[in-house]
């Protein structure tokens, strides 16, 4: 799509001195919401798996674990709900010109998302408050819609992000958005690799973080069935997801190479268009090339196009004003890929040990690595989103609308930014406090309370 001037619904350019604050607020809110959402994606399936174990074996430790996890799930869901609400408000409060012009193009996705949230909120309440009040079968079934809503919820919001990165389904005539085709807009973008990659990331983040808690308990010598099940279930989900993520990441990279060549050039710091491009590990980008990095000949062409001689478009193909901040994007990308590779190795180690020896690895270092894997996957997650979102800059809708055109004209954004940051800090502190309190309670309490 050609980048025409977008006069837009308001017929006038926004003039916002605090654009950076608006962007930072948006980024901050995402950085709070998206880790929580990982639990919305992956935790229900893990909880149901453990409940299923209980239903099959009648072993009280499994019930205690499922019940404990479901409480954590409810808490994180509640916090996910409020942070998600903030994001919905921010779309209007920070980016009104974006909403005014494109609300009708992608709004459908959010309308469907609303239905999905309803279903999730309804069944999560029935599930968590229904322990010991519904028949075991009905209770288990009440969990199924939560798993489904975790998929549809992320599907719908990612259609929007996929569309922003590869906008389709509308025309621009005389600087106005017309002919919106909502369905083709939603499913024509970068949705499919983003959805798969994010979904797998959800399992990695939730799985490794939860497994880390039980790995710690393991090292402290708590190895009864309850702690063992907590470790094995969470770790198995994450370990199976980790190697898959590398393959999905490769798919994402090739799609970006094809559809957003400037973004890809920023991932790798490719200044000039070149054939048989090298990949650099570490180093920094300056004056059109990567300095002080470790070059790996032709790897970039192989990765991006699966062909060692392929041409990779450089940043010089577009004017400087259309390029994203290269070092931010490149470091974020390198962080994600580096962590992703390590976690994939960890996952393979676990799965191979399990398959060949039918037991858990014995080295304390394995358990220490599992404890580190949770925070690391969280870093990879945020880094991945930084790659995608900052890599798209200066566009909010790729090559159609600039972020500076989307922003609000309201004043005093930094006041809101400070307030919001303080509130988020309190929120995080409160959640940490709550989870610690829950963890201290002995597991037997879950079954006795019934």
């Amino acid at each position: 799509m050609a980048a025409e001037y977008l006069a837009g619904a308001f017929g006038r350019q926004a003039n916002q001195p605090d654009l950076l604050q608006a962007r930072q607020m948006q980024a901050l809110s995402f950085a709070v919401h998206i880790p929580l959402v990982c639990f919305g994606i992956a935790f229900p399936a893990m909880v149901l798996f453990v409940e299923g174990l209980w239903l099959r074996t009648g072993e009280p430790a499994y019930k205690a674990l499922a019940k404990r996890w479901s409480k954590v799930m409810l808490t994180l869901f509640a916090v996910g709900v409020v942070t998600g609400t903030i994001l919905s408000f921010e779309l209007g409060l920070l980016w009104p010109a974006f909403m005014a012009n494109f609300g009708e193009v992608f709004g459908l996705a959010f309308a469907l998302e609303g239905i999905s949230f309803f279903v999730e909120a309804i069944f999560i309440a029935i599930y968590v408050y229904g322990w010991d009040r519904l028949s075991p079968r009905a209770h288990f079934l009440a969990g199924v819609p939560i798993v489904v809503a975790g998929i549809t919820g992320s599907l719908m919001v990612l259609t929007v992000n996929g569309w922003m990165n590869h906008p389709t389904g509308f025309d621009i005539v005389d600087g106005k958005v017309v002919n919106a085709h909502p369905f083709s807009a939603l499913f024509g973008g970068n949705l499919w690799h983003e959805l798969t990659h994010m979904y797998v990331a959800g399992y990695m983040v939730a799985g490794f973080l939860v497994a880390g808690v039980y790995a710690y308990a393991w090292l402290k010598g708590r190895r009864d069935l309850y702690h063992r099940a907590g470790l094995v279930v969470a770790l198995s989900f994450a370990a199976l997801a980790a190697p898959v993520q590398v393959v999905v990441g490769d798919w994402a990279g090739r799609t970006v190479a094809e559809r957003q060549p400037t973004k890809l050039a920023a991932f790798e710091g490719v200044g000039k268009t070149q054939k048989g491009a090298d990949f650099h590990i570490l180093g920094y980008y300056s004056d059109g090339e990567v300095k002080a990095g470790i070059p790996i000949p032709r790897l970039l062409s192989i990765l991006a196009k699966h062909d060692p001689n392929a041409t990779v478009q450089g940043l010089d193909a577009v004017p400087a004003s259309d390029r994203p901040p290269v070092n931010v994007v490149r470091y974020a990308f390198q962080t994600m890929v580096g962590i992703g590779t390590l976690l994939a190795l960890l996952g393979v180690l676990y799965v191979v040990t399990w398959l060949r020896r039918r037991r858990l690895p014995r080295s304390v270092w394995f358990y220490r690595a599992v404890m580190a894997a949770g925070p690391l996957s969280l870093v990879a997650l945020i880094a991945g989103w930084t790659t995608t979102e900052v890599g798209r800059q200066p566009w909010v809708v790729y090559q159609v609308m600039r972020t500076s055109e989307a922003v609000t004209d309201a004043r005093g954004l930094w006041v809101a930014y400070v307030l919001l940051a303080v509130v988020y800090l309190m929120l995080m502190g409160a959640v940490a406090w709550l989870l610690r309190r829950l963890a201290r309670r002995p597991p037997e309490a879950e079954v006795e309370a019934a």
Partner: protein, 337 residues
């Protein structure tokens, strides 16, 4: 009826659901704030928590629903409202964070002092949030939101007579609804002292809310004449009267301790007044600036959204019915710790 009418009807329905259900949650927070010292208030607080725990997330989603239909069906109007009224909407959003978190955490608090601190955050935000939403509605209804990116005044758009009375009404209405509902819940749970406590509160709040509603009409007459004209003629007038009748009936029913019927008539009073507002400002979406038809997204978009929502409702309605049935049967009662 055009598709834009259907969309606005959906938004109004969502707003009614949010006020009647979510508003009562906020009202419960109001009673929490005024429940008094740790000992005396403990039982009232316990009741608040018990009634709200399983439903507040689902109630909250109505707000999201209204937002998404608004920005899809009327994108320019949504952007104008959000960018002009960013102060009250931003405050309401912060209030929602506090309310949700404090509520989620409170069930876990071990000591009375912890519970009170968290409760205070929860309760305070239960007043600020509905006030800000009401004030924003007042800004729209009194024609203070022009079309454009932050084109209206950031303060007088919501700190004006109409906004302030509507904001106060929103807080009181929630408190009133909550007291009526909780009196019924207390009876179901077999707690006669709490039943009496909430009955008294419902009567008090009902009288005050009614008086303020009448006063509000005079304020609106001076401050937003065209809204007043809409509310005092034709269908608008009929709805205002219906609302008043429902309100009076609710008082009588509460007096007579018929709480289940009072639940219905209280919700009816709220429904009539919200529909009355929508009717009074027809054909405008942003009074004086933008009509509904001008604001509407293209036909294809509205059609796609309405069909998708229709399909969604096939799943949603039975699910909601299941949840409320389980709650009203008391099957999800007793907080989970």
């Amino acid at each position: 009826m055009s598709l834009a009418d259907v969309c606005i009807a959906l938004m109004v329905a969502g707003l009614i659901a949010y006020t009647v259900l979510g508003g009562a949650d906020f009202g419960a927070g109001f009673w929490d704030l005024t429940a008094g010292g740790a000992k005396r208030g403990a039982r009232v607080r316990g009741m608040v928590e018990r009634s709200m725990s399983p439903v507040w997330e689902a109630n909250h989603v109505w707000l999201i629903f209204v937002l998404v239909v608004f920005w899809t069906a009327f994108p320019t109007a949504f952007a104008s409202v959000a960018s002009t009224l960013y102060v009250p909407l931003g405050l309401a959003a912060l209030g929602i964070i506090f309310r949700g978190t404090a509520f989620a955490l409170r069930g876990q608090a071990a000591t009375i002092n912890e519970a009170r601190t968290l409760g205070a955050a929860f309760a305070l935000s239960s007043v600020i949030t509905p006030f800000c939403f009401g004030a924003a509605v007042g800004g729209i209804a009194s024609g203070r939101v022009p079309v454009g990116n932050a084109a209206g005044d950031p303060f007088s758009s919501w700190l004006n007579p109409t906004s302030i009375v509507i904001g106060a009404l929103a807080v009181l209405t929630g408190a009133y609804l909550a007291a009526v509902y909780m009196a019924g819940d207390a009876r179901r749970a077999g707690l006669p002292d709490l039943e009496r406590a909430f009955r008294d509160r419902a009567l008090g709040a009902g009288v005050v809310t009614g008086a303020l509603a009448i006063g509000a009409l005079f304020v609106v007459r001076d401050d937003a004449r065209s809204l007043y004209d809409g509310l005092t003629s034709g269908t608008g007038l009929a709805l205002v009267i219906a609302s008043a009748v429902c309100g009076a009936a609710t008082l009588a029913l509460v007096w007579g301790e018929r709480f289940e019927l009072a639940r219905v008539s209280a919700a009816g009073a709220v429904t009539c007044i919200i529909v009355g507002w929508a009717v009074a400002q027809r054909p405008y979406l942003l009074p004086g600036h933008l009509t509904l038809e001008q604001a509407a997204a293209s036909h294809r978009v509205l059609e796609a959204m309405l069909i998708s929502l229709g399909v969604g409702f096939v799943i949603l309605v039975p699910s909601l019915a299941l949840l409320y049935r389980l709650v009203l049967q008391g099957r999800l009662d007793k907080d989970y710790e």
